[in-house]
Amino acid sequence: MKFGVIVFPGSNCDQDAYYAVRDVLKEPVEYIWHQEHDLKGVDCVIVPGGFSYGDYLRTGAVARFSPVMEAVKEHTDKGGYAIGICNGFQILCEAHLLPGALVSNDCLKFVCKYVQLTPANLNTPWTNQCKNGQVLNIPIAHQGGNFVCDQETLKRIEDNGQVILRYCDEAGRVTPEANPNGSLNNIAGVINERGNVAGMMPHPERAVEKILGSADGLNILRSVIEWARR
């Protein structure tokens, strides 16, 4: 599967995502500059973390108007895969490719730490390599990861199985204490209705090798490769 990593001015997890795909997953990958109109034929777009355009105004608000986002929209409209990680998730929400929005953490501070996640729906392009009840150890690093949406939307995405990951404790229990940022229903990741677009605040690309403390992020990244192969 050919991956493309978008580079916005201010992206800072682009090189990490690129490394994870090329050196750990051993799949082909290319950078795509934010002013490109063409996705160079990639199968899966990664919208990486960072502070695109300094996150000024609102996180992700400016980035969504980059020329490349037009191309990403066309790509996903045709069923192409795209995943937004952290700032990338914020950008995809701003671009209305994903439901809801991300606001400031309830503690108002930046939080960087390993958190535990439990998959909420295994039958998606992004979680099919996870096991039922599995607890994934993947870090977060954000100040605005508090997932919000209106009640109607919440009901819809919950009923549709569009919630793919939730924050949980070490035993896999979804509790308020395990919620690092105040997200509704402990939501850590969602997909669009079709399932080909995903967004998640935790960084799977940071948990790809034992020396980094965990390789659980590979479950997410390998899922899309497996899904496309089926």
Partner: protein, 80 residues
């Protein structure tokens, strides 16, 4: 040249964590009568007339970029 003042606020249905902290701080300073604090953004634009209706243009700017309708409300004033 028109001067436009845009006010962006979080929707009332959303918890304003920053506002809550400021309210507590004000209480600690002895202002126990502050019932609520909502923090928003204030944006100033200087806009050249280009024949299009200014209001429609600003409305569009707000919806597209200056505010995120999923979480925010906005209003604006035009002064010359």
């Amino acid at each position: 040249m028109a001067k436009v003042k845009v006010y962006v606020t979080l929707k009332p249905s959303l918890l304003d964590a920053q506002g809550r902290v400021v309210q507590t701080a004000l209480e600690n300073l002895g202002y126990g009568n502050v019932e609520d604090v909502r923090i928003g953004k204030y944006i100033e634009l200087e806009v050249k007339e280009n024949g299009q209706t200014l209001d429609t243009q600003i409305e569009e700017m707000c919806r597209k970029l200056l505010a995120n309708p999923v979480i925010e409300n906005y209003r604006f004033e035009v002064t010359e």
